[in-house]
């Protein structure tokens, strides 16, 4: 599915938001391509490579016992590692492109054979690929939101809720936590932690959320129907 697509934000904010993940094809049209079989060891190597470059969140789903484990939900790196099976997808979130570039360089060298996807600013990702002599294979571009956009929450809130592609982070919870931070009943870090726990796939960017919550808490909201373009 498309859960790391459609993350909303401006250039400056999205420069601090990259999702990098690895997976194997289960097969296509009933044909097992043999991509997943025996891939758990490679995925563990992928996890170790990614972990060594300072992600702000990581996750494994599904595990061999069909769970979804994310660092932001309180699981340890070792628990993530132990949960990896041939079917697992390994997700990581970074708040800078330099680290992503170092991960990609290392992955290119290690040649694990896993499918690797980066969600982030195309210009930055494509420049990175050119600099390390890689050719991007396929892209998925968002052309935005259609339909009854008047039903949507305000843009600042959407910048946070769209960091969980399964829409498990409620706009009501975001507004509630912004108010608590504004009223000094909790810190922005604590609020980001609460939001991140709702995202089962662990692709919620806690570092970016802290910045957005602080920004939102300092704003006076008098225009609920901002543009969503």
């Amino acid at each position: 599915m498309t859960h790391s697509l459609h993350r909303l934000g401006d250039y400056e904010s999205l420069k601090k938001d990259y999702v990098l993940f690895a997976l194997t094809a289960a097969g296509v049209y009933g044909k097992d391509l043999g991509h997943a079989a025996g891939s758990a060891a490679k995925k563990k190597r992928f996890l170790d490579i990614v972990a060594s470059h300072g992600p702000v969140n990581m996750s494994v789903s599904p595990t061999h016992d069909r769970r979804r484990l994310a660092l932001a939900a309180g699981y340890t790196l070792e628990e993530l590692r132990n949960g990896i099976c041939d079917k697992s997808e390994i997700y990581s979130v970074f708040n800078n492109m330099d680290s992503v570039k170092r991960v990609i360089e290392e992955l290119k060298t290690k040649n694990l054979g896993l499918s690797v996807v980066v969600s982030g600013i195309f210009d930055e990702v494509f420049r990175c690929c050119r600099e390390i002599s890689m050719t991007p294979h396929t892209v998925n571009m968002s052309v935005g939101i259609m339909g009854r956009t008047e039903m949507l929450p305000r843009k600042r809130v959407l910048e946070m809720t769209t960091m969980c592609g399964h829409s498990l982070v409620s706009s009501g919870l975001v507004e509630h936590l912004i108010n608590r931070v504004r009223n000094r009943k909790m810190t922005s870090e604590e609020a980001a932690g609460v939001l991140a726990k709702q995202c089962l796939c662990g692709i919620f960017n806690t570092a970016r959320a802290v910045e957005l919550i602080e920004l939102a808490a300092s704003e006076i909201v008098d225009k609920p129907s901002e543009s969503h373009d």
């Binding site: 997976l23 049209y29 050719t135 991007p136 259609m146 039903m151």
Partner: protein
């Protein structure tokens, strides 16, 4: 079915957690509106109820669809196809699901955070079927519609609400603008929102479909997904 039992102390802590606003509190009780609830499980999983009043009852058809499409932790799939969609372009370097000259489309009904019914989904699938796209056969929503006309196979599911469901299809690159214009028409008929993604296989480091969309005045986000092309099966790249 997610419910709140008599242990509830009406503290209202759970209210903001529901992504679709299905938890309601009045003077006498706090309850989950079963029409609005999409069975995503957020309220139950969050473990925020101080008296454990939120509980999950077993689901029966067609309500089971709500959990399949809304709860990523649900592993019983009535459509026999897991999750909300396929790997689409994420493993295209191995599967070649999208070839040069093709445009893929992921139309996610209800996203972000509004929810949708299968009635909404049918508006989109009928519109696309009418112009002749190729629906993705391994997608769980495709399983629920007739691909010839896009109509729902089972009337019983029409009003089932889900957090989101994805129409996946493809057409030739030259028809991409036609498909997107058809979606703009369909968007006038739905009682929700949908997020649209366009998939394009790169050629020599460029995105072939980008100038086609630019020429038609169709804006794309500055960010999106890039398959780096590192996938191999026994050393073979698709």
């Amino acid at each position: 079915m997610l419910k709140i039992d008599e242990k509830c102390i009406r503290c209202r802590i759970c209210l903001p957690y529901c992504p679709v606003g299905a938890i309601t509190a009045d003077k006498e009780k706090t309850y989950i509106d079963q029409d609005l609830c999409v069975e995503c499980g957020v309220c139950h999983r969050a473990k925020i109820c101080p008296v454990n009043a939120i509980y999950q009852q077993d689901l029966t058809w067609p309500r089971t669809l709500r959990a399949q499409f809304s709860n990523p932790a649900a592993y019983r799939h009535p459509t026999a196809i897991g999750g909300r969609g396929t790997d689409e372009m994420k493993t295209n370097d191995v599967t070649s699901r999208f070839k040069h000259g093709e445009a893929g489309f992921c139309i996610e009904l209800g996203r972000p955070g509004i929810g949708a019914t299968f009635n909404d989904a049918e508006k989109v699938t009928m519109t696309l079927a009418a112009i002749g796209v190729e629906f993705e056969q391994e997608n769980p929503l495709t399983f629920l519609v007739n691909i010839s006309d896009g109509k729902l196979k089972d009337e019983a599911i029409r009003n089932e609400r889900v957090l989101s469901c994805i129409v996946e299809c493809k057409a030739s690159e030259e028809r991409a603008v036609e498909v997107l214009k058809a979606l703009q028409e369909a968007s006038k008929m739905v009682n929700t929102v949908f997020s649209v993604g366009v998939i394009s296989r790169c050629r020599e480091g460029e995105i072939p479909i980008k100038p086609i969309l630019d020429k038609a005045g169709i804006k794309t986000y500055i960010n999106g997904k890039t398959n780096l092309g590192l996938g191999r099966v026994r050393g073979v790249k698709a």
